[in-house]
Point group: C2
Chain length 334, copies 2
Amino acid sequence: MADVNQGAVPVAELWRGGVLEGVHLGHAVICDANGVVEAWGNPQAVIFPRSSCKMVQALPLLESGAAAARGLTQAHLALSCASHQGAALHVEMAGRWIKDLGLGEEDLRCGAHDPADRDERDRLICAHEVPCQLHNNCSGKHSGFLTVTQHLKAGPEYVELDHPLQRAILAATEEVAGESVAGAGIDGCSAPNFAVSLEGLARSMALFAVAREGYGARQDAMFQLTRAMAAYPELVAGEGRACTELMRAMGGKVAIKTGAEAVFVAIIPEKGLGIALKIVDGGTRASEAAIAHLLVRAGVLEAGHPATLKRLNPVQKNWRGIETGQLRIAAGFA
Amino acid sequence: MADVNQGAVPVAELWRGGVLEGVHLGHAVICDANGVVEAWGNPQAVIFPRSSCKMVQALPLLESGAAAARGLTQAHLALSCASHQGAALHVEMAGRWIKDLGLGEEDLRCGAHDPADRDERDRLICAHEVPCQLHNNCSGKHSGFLTVTQHLKAGPEYVELDHPLQRAILAATEEVAGESVAGAGIDGCSAPNFAVSLEGLARSMALFAVAREGYGARQDAMFQLTRAMAAYPELVAGEGRACTELMRAMGGKVAIKTGAEAVFVAIIPEKGLGIALKIVDGGTRASEAAIAHLLVRAGVLEAGHPATLKRLNPVQKNWRGIETGQLRIAAGFA
């Protein structure tokens, strides 16, 4: 394995007035179930998947039998994999879920932050209300965590590294990545996040892509989570966001997920492929451009779709609508 | 000259759970009036200074005699060099300035955007008002531009490349940088922005640092603009911002200025030094850490000051106050 800076290659470039103004370096890996199909940069670069691995973190929810026991719907499963906007839709659904468990918002361990959704943000501001933990973009994941915790009759501190839930997530992470984790960090939502190689993350996504129903709990869970994400793009992120708009553009056939510090993954069942990429500097504009590029290249996203054009080589306009620059995929990554 | 990616070195690193999660590459140059004193990365890297060169763009305001003719105060000069928050303070001052010229907000050419200042943003939201051009972070610079334009009896389209004002700014840019510009781009506020080498930008700042009154219009202008910025840190940026807090921490002895896409400059009169730095990926957290580091290193900023600690090697905490990571100055940049 290698540190994240080793062997990184230019992924996206910012141009202004014919001058190169900025560059984003990164790594990307495409895997099938047998291993690496194609790679840019260093597949052995160690990264924190951050929120891009929420479908892996949701595996115990299904594999433990908790989801079935609680009668969770496909929408619940999508929300459990979400980094949502804290829109009314998300807040209300997470709130109902917690209430159905007989629990309250105070049982969450994700913390509160301002919602990214503008309507809900404005509503809170003008009502002089403060955001609650349900507004946290990870509140769906944490609702899933509480569901497993209750099902396992485990203690309330479900984000501790030695909690049965987190031990199950660690085991699932290593099994699907096909490697031992390279470290454990704490995520923005207080949950552990396990460092893996980019190849390990891409391999994990490939296993989700080839999973079929009726071949055991692991494949059943992977199959269901992939379909849930692709079926409810508005729950996985929210209006205006890359995950939501690009999944809609692909018509429910592909599941994709972003993570903090510019990670992006894709699960492409029809091709049996998984993609994982990381921009070394954490620049989200570059990770969004890169995933759009790789999805177009894989033949599952239309190059001319408005959702694609918004991320891939977007022309930057200023406050008066004048073109000022352009973010372009770097030549070596094309 | 070289493109911005050539020879860049690690400037700041993001660490989480003992694992390197991200890296920001960049360049930095320290000049005195005779040239480069110290450099990291490539001093010949071509960059767009963006808003970091507002004091250069303000030179014609003084050199033309417009500032004196209109009786502009030191506060006006500070606002002309500002990338402000669009707080009530900034909006009202720019509005009065325009009105005193006998002009209106519609004569500005910067465009409108939401203010970064939270109080003013919330006021607009709850009053169902939209931001105007006075809220644009560059409205002070554009007020200065209008002042020069009126003084020169030039046409109203003062952001056009062949407008007398922009030709004067181009000439001043090349004279203080000691080189021909490497290109022209359009900035977020619609004004031209001229590409120079990082060394050229650092040299420009060194000339501001050593300028003395009574040695001609250029030195008078440089001397006054530097003192105005350092004397009114709240006008140059706003509450909570790096420029404002770090200038306050240095007690009015140093002028510093950020620019979009992670440029930062400093003018240190007591040392006769100018600093310019650029993070290649545009990551502002790294440019703020880097300028704080270089100011501490130069002996003009206290390492233990709260404003310093907020930018230099800050511990990242999540929504529950738990430490998750740390941004650190890279070993080779220390």
